[in-house]
């Protein structure tokens, strides 16, 4: 320790070790927090079409159009270890050919400090709601849920499902709009 450089070296290494311990402490204080929030989803309009799906092997597939309302208060999720949230709305249903189908309809990135109260009305889906075949027509039960991925400053990225969902039946025939 009798030159400036060796003193500076040990000082800097000590600071970095202390920083690593503080980052671990930041992770530990929020590792076991429950990140679920109640979510309210409402569907206002559903329409069904039967179109050519050029990405799939079959002749024509079902394409659904959903207009929905979304409201949730996501402020309790944010703390000092959360950088941003990745929200996504997914539809889940069962058909004759597949037991479980899950399709992401819409997503959003919410940074810390903005948009803590989600209140979206008459939103159209961002992505196409294609089915693998013709399973959407006259389907009794299609469940929409909002889930999110918590992106932290330090630690694990948990995938959390919101505690509120909405089930809608789809119309019996094509090109007809069903309102709720």
């Amino acid at each position: 320790m009798n030159t400036v450089l060796s003193r500076a070296n040990s000082l800097f290494a000590f600071s970095l070790s202390v920083m690593a311990a503080l980052t671990f402490g930041c992770f530990i204080t929020t590792a076991f927090k429950d990140r679920r929030v109640p979510v309210d989803i409402h569907v206002s309009r559903v329409m069904l079409k039967n179109v050519d799906d050029f990405t799939g092997p079959r002749e024509r597939s079902d394409l659904g159009f959903i207009t929905f309302d979304l409201s949730a208060d996501i402020k309790p999720i944010f703390d000092w270890n959360v950088k941003q949230l990745f929200l996504y709305l997914s539809a889940e249903y069962a058909t004759k050919s597949n037991a479980l189908n899950q399709v992401v309809l819409w997503d959003k990135i919410v940074l810390r400090g903005e948009g803590t109260k989600l209140n979206l009305r008459d939103m159209k889906s961002k992505y196409f709601f294609f089915d693998d075949g013709n399973g959407l027509r006259a389907n009794k039960n299609i469940t929409l849920t909002l889930s999110w991925n918590v992106v932290p400053n330090a630690g694990i990225l948990p995938l959390v499902m919101g505690s509120g969902h909405m089930s809608v039946p789809f119309p019996e025939s094509y090109e007809t709009t069903k309102s709720y």
Partner: protein, 128 residues
């Protein structure tokens, strides 16, 4: 806040910056002429001082960041503690030179030469 976009990359940037400073100071010979030594008790004191300052600033920073819910402030406070302890312990202040070593007086040159020759013979015998 700056540190929300990845405090680890910022730490790596600071490490490389510091490394560059050290390399440049080795190359410039003017830095060799500035006296930088401390005696042993002074080195121990300097080490205790910087460890204490950084630990205290880490505790303060952790508690403050937890209260205002921003990890960026924790990192800023620890960096502030690092800067203060750099200032206090890197230059050789007089408080680190309170216990200088007492060297023996230097021997005059003539007796030194006569002592060297029998030592050289001893060394040659050992090598065989």
């Amino acid at each position: 806040m700056l540190f929300e976009t990845g405090s680890l990359t910022r730490q790596i940037e600071y490490f490389f910056f510091f490394h560059l400073i050290i390399q440049h100071s080795k190359m410039l010979s003017i830095f060799n002429s500035i006296p930088t030594h401390m005696d042993y008790k002074g080195q121990k004191l300097a080490e205790q001082i910087f460890q204490g300052i950084i630990l205290v600033s880490a505790v303060i920073g952790f508690v403050y960041g937890l209260i205002i819910e921003q990890f960026g402030w924790t990192v800023y406070i620890v960096l502030g503690g690092f800067a203060v302890s750099c200032l206090l312990t890197l230059p050789p202040w007089p408080m680190y030179r309170q216990n200088p070593l007492s060297w023996q007086p230097a021997l005059p040159e003539t007796t030194g030469e006569t002592q060297h020759k029998p030592q050289e013979n001893l060394k040659k015998k050992k090598h065989k």
